[in-house]
């Protein structure tokens, strides 16, 4: 575990809490019927409501409420009937009404939490303070020549804000928490968690304290850090900055900062004295959210098995190592893929072999081709068939890689590929012996050196034989026959 030490030798402990904004996966915006599709021409997905025309009123999107409730249930929070929307008042050109409609003193959900698993600290429960709903602002871009442009397509997008307790003690835990939360959002289909499109954004509250002491230090808020990596880097930087100030006897002012991902520093944005007075008050245009308990119960039924639970099950039932289970369950689609394939075989060795194929070749190819886990072109059944060919000794692991590449392009029975390409493994002792003998005859010096004790040359002979057999020699038989003919140990 990283120990944070000041120049004086004093050890410090970081204290981190995160506020994540996730866009709810609805077809229309939170308070109007405009579409939520990403990437339209600027100001093409807006209407009188989300551009703040005089006289317009918000009307809550029922589906957004449903998704938010599903999330609350998934994290084990308490869903409150009678939650209240409030106006959060501030002026900015991309906020058309001059206030955001959010929830303040009566949020939709309180409590609950998320399990994380890090190499340093293992399994740990991160508590949630609250989850509430709110609308997004538009997007400003600043040209640098004194002009700014405002795109209101994003104005009114449905968000939920997920506020954690200050339970994290390292950047690694913070990143693990973000990943776990995003996984839950994606498993439940509450949000697509797409960071590039801004549907998953993070603010971090960070302070440090002398190791072993209770009271929190002065905090900084880091705004809008939009990748896992940046969260890690920004927190590392900020922890160091705080420790340097505190350790040299200085004092910190509470402030809000921005991460500059190019210069790798946090930049001062505003101090406590410039903090907004948002003048929250209940939104008179919306009634408190009166939730029918049977509806809430119905929504709770739609929460699927989540990554953490599924990972535990893969370890317990299939004997997978915790690392494998974690990788396979990170995305629901990948876990579904694995599980479909795993259902077609029945031994821990086969499950582990499937896991290796998926974690290795499948994920590598997806990454190379910039595909997501919904787009695996090989059907699970084909992967199982491929595995059977290896287990049955029909092909070697090496040939299997070639078959895998073929399967990636065409959906055919792998046995047919092996047949058509003539890739069948050769296990016939006589045929192998013939080849070994010709290799030994061609390399008398190496044979002599080997027999004189230079056993490292063993690999050379294996390589020569396999090359001569175009990789199709059964490695076990080849090894066995080499031993017989080279070592005369038959």
């Amino acid at each position: 575990m990283t120990i944070w030490t000041g120049a004086s030798g004093t050890e410090y402990e970081p204290v981190i809490g995160l506020e994540v904004h996730a866009q709810l996966r609805t077809a229309s915006k939170l308070f109007c019927a405009c579409p939520t599709v990403f990437g339209a021409e600027p100001n093409h997905h807006c209407c009188p409501v989300c551009t703040g025309m005089p006289g317009t009123l918000p009307v809550i999107n029922r589906r957004a409420v449903e998704l938010a409730i599903r999330l609350c249930t998934a994290v084990g929070g308490t869903v409150h009937s009678g939650s209240v929307f409030s106006r959060k008042n501030y002026f900015y050109p991309d906020l058309p009404n001059g206030y955001q409609i959010s929830q303040f003193d009566k949020p939709l959900c309180t409590g609950g939490g998320v399990w994380i698993d890090t190499e340093e600290t293992g399994r740990k429960f991160i508590r949630l303070t609250r989850i509430h709903m709110e609308n997004d602002a538009g997007k400003s871009s600043h040209s640098g020549d004194g002009h700014s442009l405002v795109d209101l397509n994003r104005s009114g997008m449905p968000l939920c804000e997920i506020v954690s307790e200050a339970d994290m003690r390292s950047p690694q835990e913070a990143m693990a928490y973000m990943k776990a939360l995003r996984s839950i959002l994606r498993y439940t289909e509450v949000s697509d968690g797409n960071m590039e499109e801004g549907s998953f954004r993070c603010d971090a509250n960070i302070s440090v304290r002398v190791m072993g002491t209770e009271p929190f230090g002065t905090k900084s808020e880091l705004k809008n850090i939009n990748s896992f990596r940046f969260v890690g880097q920004a927190l590392e930087y900020e922890i160091r900055r705080h420790i340097d100030v505190v350790d040299s006897g200085g004092s910190l002012e509470q402030d809000t900062r921005l991460w500059d991902s190019k210069k790798h520093v946090t930049m001062f944005m505003r101090g406590k004295e410039d903090a907004h007075d948002y003048r929250y008050f209940p939104e008179p245009d919306l009634l408190p959210l009166d939730l029918d308990p049977s509806w809430v119960a119905e929504i709770a039924e739609t929460v699927p098995e989540l990554a953490d639970e599924r990972s535990q099950r893969f370890q317990a039932d299939l004997g997978l190592p915790s690392y494998d289970a974690g990788v396979l369950t990170a995305e629901r689609e990948l876990a579904d893929y694995f599980e479909e394939a795993a259902g077609m075989v029945s031994t821990p060795d086969e499950w582990k072999a499937l896991s290796n194929w998926i974690m290795g070749d499948v994920l590598r190819r997806l990454k190379e081709e910039n595909l997501d886990t919904t787009a695996i072109p090989i059907r699970p059944q084909r992967l199982v068939q491929l595995l059977a060919l290896i287990t049955d000794g029909v092909i070697s692991g090496k040939i299997a890689k070639k078959v895998f590449d073929e399967l990636w392009e065409h959906d055919v029975d792998p046995a047919t590929i092996v047949e058509d390409r003539g890739w069948k493994q050769v296990s016939d002792t006589a045929a192998i012996d013939t080849i070994i003998q010709s290799i030994l005859a061609d390399n008398p010096n190496e044979v002599e050196e080997y027999r004189a004790g230079k056993t490292k040359l063993r690999g050379f002979f294996v390589g020569q034989v396999m090359r001569a057999m175009r990789g199709q020699g059964n490695p076990q038989v080849v090894n066995q026959r080499l031993s017989a003919l080279l070592d005369n140990t038959n």
């Binding site: 009188p48 551009t51 703040g52 025309m53 005089p54 006289g55 317009t56 009123l57 918000p58 009307v59 809550i60 106006r87 008042n89 002026f91 050109p93 058309p96 009404n97 001059g98 206030y99 405002v150 007075d277 003048r279 929250y280 008050f281 008179p284 245009d285 919306l286 009634l287």
Partner: protein, 484 residues
Amino acid sequence: MGNEMDTPQTLDEMAAALRSGQCSAAQLIDQALGRAQEHRHLNAFLSLDPEGAQQAAAKADEELASGHDRGPLHGVPVAIKDNICTQGMPTTCASQFLDNFAPPYDATAVQRLRDAGAVIIGKTNLDEFAMGSSNENSSYGPVLNPLDTSRVPGGSSGGSAAAVAAGIVPLSLGSDTGGSVRQPAALCGVVGVKPTYGRVSRNGLVAFGSSLDQIGPFATTVKGAAGVLQAIAGGDPMDATCPDQPMDNWAAECEKPVGPIRVGLPVEYTADLTDEARAALLGPLEAMDDVELVEVALPHTRFAIAAYYVLASAEASANLARFDGIRYGVRVAEPESDLQDVYVASRTAGFGPEVKRRIMLGTFALSAGYYEAYYGKAQQARAAIGSDFDKAFEQVDVIASLTSPTTAFELDARTQDPLEMYLSDIFTVPSSLAGLPAISVPAGADGKGLPWGIQVIAPHWEEGSMFQFATRIESHVASAGSLP
């Protein structure tokens, strides 16, 4: 068309004349536009739409001729307060901030009026953003009271009240937040209704105090007002605070024979009345048959004005934040202006003094450290006022009071003293805070011949009993011949 005596004046007369062929919608519209011109000096209208109105009238005539009858408002000229959105027509809120603003959509109430066949001839003057009780806060000058042009018409819906009182249109729409329909109706001698909060969609009504605002009709008769309300009321998916609620046929309710009724007289509303004012209220009520007058107590009335000005201003401070000079309306920007400069300069130039006063008041009331003392306390007062009414309605069917403590006052009489101006609404504000339906009906006249209005307040969603009793007052007053 015959001489002035023969031309139809009320909604009923117009409806009959249109269907008997005595006149056409086109003629009614021309008559209304002509009268609007004649009465230009009243400053009741901020804009007229002769082309649009004539087109709509032609369509109304064609429809009637082909047997497509949209009902009692078909072909009837109406005027709309200029804080209610009309697609493509100016909607200024009487604020120079929105001098050139025309909204891209119709308010639900406007759409429903059009669907009912009514013809919009223009938009009426008001106190800027509906903030005022005399119509003197308009960026485009005050409206004059048609009954005495040295006096105010009341506010904030002064233009809509004056347009009906001057006989330009038989019907108009206003908006009422703390009395802005009822008080000008009383001061101009016409009928004005503030429906139950949530009865009429607020979609398209430029918001002032969102938890109080209601669109309501003005008419020359109670039945006319009932007919307009019928057309515009009812649940709207565009307004979360406007649910589907059962509606009677209110115009029919007005004509129903009625039995004995218990009418509450709040002691707090009569205690400080002058003898003349007391007589204006009690005279008709005591003279009517089958009316049992019962004293009721509304003990939290004394907190109403303060609570109202805190809550309405707090909501207004947020509602008016969208007028920032970025997307529409006034923008004052110098080449070297930064964002903050644009906000400050645009809002300084665009808003009048009363609007600024209320934004400041509301912003203060919501500020950190003051919220509980102002907004929080005002909410408590509002709840207490609501339960006062609930208790009173356990004893009585409706509550009656004067609509305004005085008749129309002279221009400039109260402009130097905002507090005195705010007290103009002392009898209308409590029922607004409680969300109750209320109507103002013309009663007798004062010594100068200026009308009094009697306010009838009914329980939530009981516009029917409100209209019934208001009709009885109306016919009693008419038979007594005491109207100005």
